[in-house]
Amino acid sequence: MSALLEVKNVSVRFGGLMALKDIGLAVCAGEVLSVIGPNGAGKTTLFNVITGRVRPTTGEVLFRDRPIHLAPAFRIAQMGVVRTFQKTEVFGVLPLMEGVLAGALARGDTDPEARAREALETVGLAAKMHLRADQLSYGDQRLLEIAQALAANPTVLLLDEPASGMNHQESAQIVRLIGELRTRGFAIVLVEHNMHVVMSISDRVIVLNYGEKIAEGAPETVRADRNVIEAYLGVQPPDASSTTISGGADAVA
Amino acid sequence: MADLAILGQHLLNGLLIGCAYALIAIGLTMIFGVMNIANFAHGEFYMIGGFATFYLVSLLKVNYFLALPLAVVIVVVLAIIIQQVIFKRLRDAPVMTTTLVTIGLSLLLEHLAHLLWGPQPQTIPNPFPTAPMSFAGIYTTPLYLFAMAITAALIVVGHVLIQRTRMGKAMRATFQNKEAAALVGIRIDSIYLYAFGFGAALAAAAGAVLGGFIPVEPTMGGVATLKAFVVVILGGMGSFVGAIVGGLLLGLAEGLGAGYMSSGWKDAIGFVAVILLLLFRPDGLFKRG
């Protein structure tokens, strides 16, 4: 299957610092690609490059084989590449519906309310439709962010730590939601620290450390990778063949 | 040679104004950087500095050289009151709120000045002989040289305070990253107070010193604020060096402009420069610092 979204040889330099070095990835429809790595590894910068908030110093980003890395952020969103943020972003004091239909409005949808209602139903917030965004609990606000993104009718979803700060029950809900979205055909790139979520839902995993890609592959393969263990724990794995990251990675991340 | 003398004259005329702009802009930059407030009332500190000096000298018969620092102290006290009563409550307020408040403050101070001191422009009486001196065909007066010396010295002092003292370093740290500064134990409220007072002091000093030949009147604050903003934008909105260099350059440009173009248009130089700058170099001429 051809890739919907491709990142090719992207490097980003901020002043004297290389935030990303020669990063490449590809994701297809109906696939969940997780990007993991210690804090500061460049994951959010990667999202910023894909969505046009930051221009790559070198390299390009292709969506449906067309370069998008120089387009303005709002244009990229209109094309179908939509993200959520690490720090919850909602439309404050507006009624829920007004914020969720933003994406539909942007695309000139004839019935933005309908699109918003669908999105809210998908994430399971339909019952709270009449509330204001700032009246929701933290967990619900994270779901709201995904609804906002969905209403923009994306093809590619970039989710930035959607399960952060959530308890076990809430993260399970997120995992179910992501699975549902995958079945519907979205291409999903997920940045996450919660290893349970990453291991349960990812088709492939990429590991970043200090802006470089140090591992890529199926979740179990990556988990056993020496470089990854070293990056997370800062030490050499005691026995190369038998050590895997389980709960330890959660503790470090 | 005569042409060179004329050029020199215009440059000299502009130099003092440039130093005044630089002083006012340094303070504005400090307030903007530390408190994230575009202080539209900044020029009023300049104006009140001038009026305070005038009344100290002419009404209270205070010695001119004593009146200058005294006037600055008076303005700093006023600034402290304003900071404690108003801006302390607006610590994390949005841009529109703080800007509107400073606009209101500017109006308040300007019209209070009208009520207290009347609209008449007042020149501050000073002990310098008025006879002009000349070097190589360029004319100046002792007062002018004194004013130049003081403003230049204050710019240097300001620079040293910012770069070398503990307080200066603390202010710059807050400038760069407020949260980090708070985390390492810098008391943000104190910093705000110092930054605001510091800015007001420099502006007041400029007003006090220039009041000897530029007559002081209530509306002069508005123009000073605008020019200071122009300088701050040209300098990059966060750079002290930019404020100093920008202030001097603007002063010199206006001096030349007043000399070679009609004086009405000279004020446009700064404003046009700002808009052009935005077209071609949106990040200003200098980097943050």
Partner: protein
């Protein structure tokens, strides 16, 4: 605050609107005092200005201090067209709106790429440049001497001939119609998807952009529309007063416009209207004490901005007038 369920439109809403309109149109029958009529006319003109400024300040949330400059620009355009080409206000007004809109477009193209503090200061710089041009381009604008001799045109109706509109009573209808038209346009704009996008940009620009809304585009729309309204108002004002001068560029105009919008209630439709009316009448009551008045206004502006972000008038109205149509009271 309780959760917001959609309220049914108040059954009396259309009746209330009709009543208000009727009262406004009948006003000159009851108010004969020339001076009061004058204030009503000026209020109507400032309603147009305030509604326009409200689009930029209240709806997209950018503080533009160039609004008075657009007002004065419109006045000058209309005046120059009248003096050079003998074009009456009927042409001058739309021309003023158009040309002001075009200049706002060009300016916005450059300066709306930055927002926050820099934007505010640039708008001031622009206003100052305009003032300097009006003052110094003596060949065209006659500088401080201004452009006198502007007249209110007659209205030609086939069958009825020329109706003279120069009495205060008659011109009131012109101003009132323009104000109502502007209000209607704003209501349509604000209720449309453009208006909803305005609010999204104001509430969280970064989020709006990430969902496909171009903040630049919507700021431009608000900026240009607001400027065109100010320009139209300038034309009305110039012809009414009969004289145009660089004083129109004074910073005091922009402050009073801001006070009208902020204290009246930014981000609503009725707020600027009330603000315009009240702050046209109020200064006149304190006319003799102009500096005291400005000190008072400045203090009110500071206090209201700090403690009453929804304005002073609007919350009062909310308590006193539940009969107003819901759309007029739409919360930001």
């Amino acid at each position: 605050m309780a959760d917001i369920k959609p309220k049914p439109r108040h059954p009396l809403a259309p009746a209330a609107t009709a009543l208000v309109l009727l009262a406004l149109f009948a006003l000159p029958q009851f108010v004969r005092n020339e001076y009061l009529l004058h204030l009503c006319i000026v209020s109507a003109i400032f309603v147009i200005i305030a509604l326009g400024l409200n689009l930029i300040v209240g709806y997209v949330g950018q503080l533009s201090l160039a609004h008075a400059a657009f007002f004065a620009l419109g006045a000058y355009v209309s005046a120059l067209l009248f003096i050079k080409f003998k074009w009456s206000m009927w042409i001058g007004l739309p021309a003023a709106a158009l040309i002001t809109g075009i200049i706002a477009f060009a300016l916005g193209w450059v300066i709306l790429r930055v927002r926050g503090h820099r934007f505010v200061i640039i708008t001031v710089a622009f206003a100052e440049i305009m003032k300097l041009v009006a003052t110094n381009w003596i060949d065209v604008t006659r500088g401080f001497m201004g452009l006198p001799g502007l007249t209110i045109p007659a209205l030609y109706i086939p069958g009825l001939g020329a109706i003279d509109l120069s009495s205060k009573e008659r011109f009131y209808y012109v101003a009132l119609t323009a104000a109502i038209l502007t209000f209607w346009l704003c209501a349509k704009l604000v209720g449309s998807s453009i208006g909803r996008a305005f609010v999204l940009v104001r509430e969280n620009e970064v989020l709006a952009e990430s969902l496909g809304i171009s903040a630049f585009r919507y700021c431009m729309i608000a900026f240009v529309a607001g400027a065109a309204m100010a320009g139209a108002a300038g034309s009305l004002y110039g012809h009414y007063v009969g004289f145009v001068s660089p004083d129109l560029f004074n910073f005091s105009y922009v402050t009073i416009m801001l006070i009208m919008v902020i204290l009246g209630g930014k981000g609503t439709l009725i707020g600027p209207v009330l603000g315009a009316v009240i702050f046209t009448f109020l200064p006149e009551l304190l006319r003799e004490a102009s500096h005291y008045r400005m000190v008072l206004f400045a203090a009110i502006l500071i206090l209201a901005t700090m403690f009453m972000p929804r304005g002073i008038i609007f919350p009062l109205v909310e308590h006193l007038a539940p009969l107003l149509p819901r759309a007029w009271r739409k919360k930001p």
